[in-house]
């Protein structure tokens, strides 16, 4: 992978190499917490922060990291950052922390993060590494939010339920459209179906774009840069 500009790197993570949709990394939290938009947002932001900071630290120390000890160092860095994020959540978003529960500490095991350290941050300058972390993290967060919103909408017939976990204040049940939804969407199989739909949608959009690129080659905006 080459290190194009900052923006290019953001875009790679957000769409082209989206960790959830294309690399299919970090599926355990993706499937587990996406029962509502708010939950998806919470875990997405936490993952984004860890990813951006771990990429920054790995990139900053890459000159001293010998290949033999790189994995323990990545683990050290990532585990420390996750612990910090967990403490920060507990201090400033205690309700969200309770709602996400074990999945905040489990960000340590999100292989998307080690993968970015190994594949990207260990070989690139800090600036692009941070961009890569933000792009990949935002790509992951957007996917979590999209799947969360979709499952909440179909399964609970509401949107933005428990927004109070983020904003504080009275319990807020979201905007409801009906008494109950299609339960399957909130149960674990619903997570697999939703993810599959998202992957299909992305591939379909990419294909359409490829087909139309033949006609509008001059735009060149999305041309692969290898």
């Amino acid at each position: 992978m080459t290190s194009g500009g900052f923006l290019q790197q953001l875009q790679t993570g957000l769409w082209k190499d989206n960790p959830g949709l294309v690399q299919l990394l970090g599926l355990c939290p993706l499937l587990a917490v996406t029962t509502t938009l708010v939950n998806g947002f919470g875990l997405g932001i936490a993952t984004l922060l860890v990813l951006a900071m771990s990429n920054a630290l790995v990139s900053a120390t890459r000159r001293w990291i010998k290949p033999e000890i790189r994995i323990p160092i990545y683990v050290l860095i990532i585990a420390s950052l996750v612990t910090c994020i967990e403490l920060i959540f507990k201090a400033w978003f205690p309700m969200l922390d309770r709602s996400l529960g074990i999945f905040i500490p489990l960000i340590v095991t999100n292989c998307a993060i080690v993968a970015r350290a190994e594949v990207f941050a260990s070989r690139n300058t800090i600036g692009v590494s941070i961009a890569d972390g933000i792009g990949m993290g935002a790509g992951f967060a957007m996917l979590l939010m999209a799947i969360g919103a979709f499952r909440e909408f179909v399964g609970q017939a509401s949107i933005l339920s428990r927004l109070d976990l983020i904003t504080g204040g009275e319990p807020f049940n979201g905007f409801s459209f009906a008494d109950s939804g299609l339960l399957l969407a909130i149960l674990p199989p619903g997570a697999f179906f939703s993810l599959a739909l998202a992957v299909v949608l992305k591939n379909y959009m990419d294909q359409r774009r490829r087909n139309s690129r033949g006609a509008f080659a001059s735009r060149g905006l999305r041309r692969p840069h290898q």
Binding site: I69, I73, I77, S80, C84, L87, P94, G155, G181
Partner: protein
């Protein structure tokens, strides 16, 4: 690797470990007061809805009584009782007990009982029931738990503490009867326990907080 490079590598590892540890230590120092305050607030906040409609002295969380099983209350994990006083006189008791027979594992419940024996509120603290079915026992999801407010042992009688479908007086949840059955049973057993042990509960010394 030569001996020298092993030492050097070890030192790199040590350095990075030290940096990471300081990062965590600094964050911990920065957040620990807030976290402790949040936890206390969260506890009082989760207890307070079970005490609607009565006036009481502050410091409810300090009057904690922890009962190890077997304690005669629902559940076989430690039960917690908070004694609530108003101007020094017993006003109510808060029971934190576990219903063992939920659809998907234990359901942790807080139940407030006025000294006279009537319920001041029921809230679900923890559960793993199915969203959309069993989770309607949570006050944020439906009004189901409010139907116990003001009831007591005697209103209805013991056998009336059941779902309407089971010959009792309490509303069902559509498509889920295992969950509410478990909750009602836990409430009923707690009320029976309260009636039998009322004086002992208010006289017992508080359990020291374990740190």
């Amino acid at each position: 690797m030569s001996d020298r490079s092993i030492v050097k590598t070890g030192m790199t590892l040590g350095m990075i470990a030290a940096v990471c540890t300081s990062l965590v230590a600094a964050t911990y120092q920065l957040t620990k007061d807030r976290i402790a305050a949040n936890e206390k607030a969260l506890l009082e906040q989760s207890l307070q809805p079970a005490l609607t409609g009565i006036f009481y002295d502050s410091g409810v969380s300090e009057s904690r009584l922890v009962l190890q099983p077997p304690h005669g209350l629902p559940g076989n994990d430690p039960a917690i009782i908070y004694r609530v006083f108003a101007e020094g006189e017993p006003a109510a008791a808060l029971f934190v007990v576990t219903a063992r027979d939920g659809f998907a594992g234990p359901i942790r419940i807080v139940l407030g009982v006025e000294a006279s024996g009537s319920v001041t509120g029921v809230r679900i603290l923890q559960h793993r029931e199915t969203p959309g079915l069993g989770d309607k026992i949570v006050s944020a999801r439906s009004d189901w738990v409010y139907q116990f407010d003001g009831r007591s042992m005697g209103d209805p009688q013991l056998l009336g503490w059941a779902l309407k479908g089971d010959g009792g007086e309490f509303d069902q949840l559509t498509g889920a009867s295992i969950t509410p059955r478990a909750v009602i049973k836990a409430i009923r057993d707690t009320l029976v326990y309260f009636d039998a042990n009322r004086d002992a509960i208010f006289q017992a010394a508080a359990t020291e907080a374990e740190e």
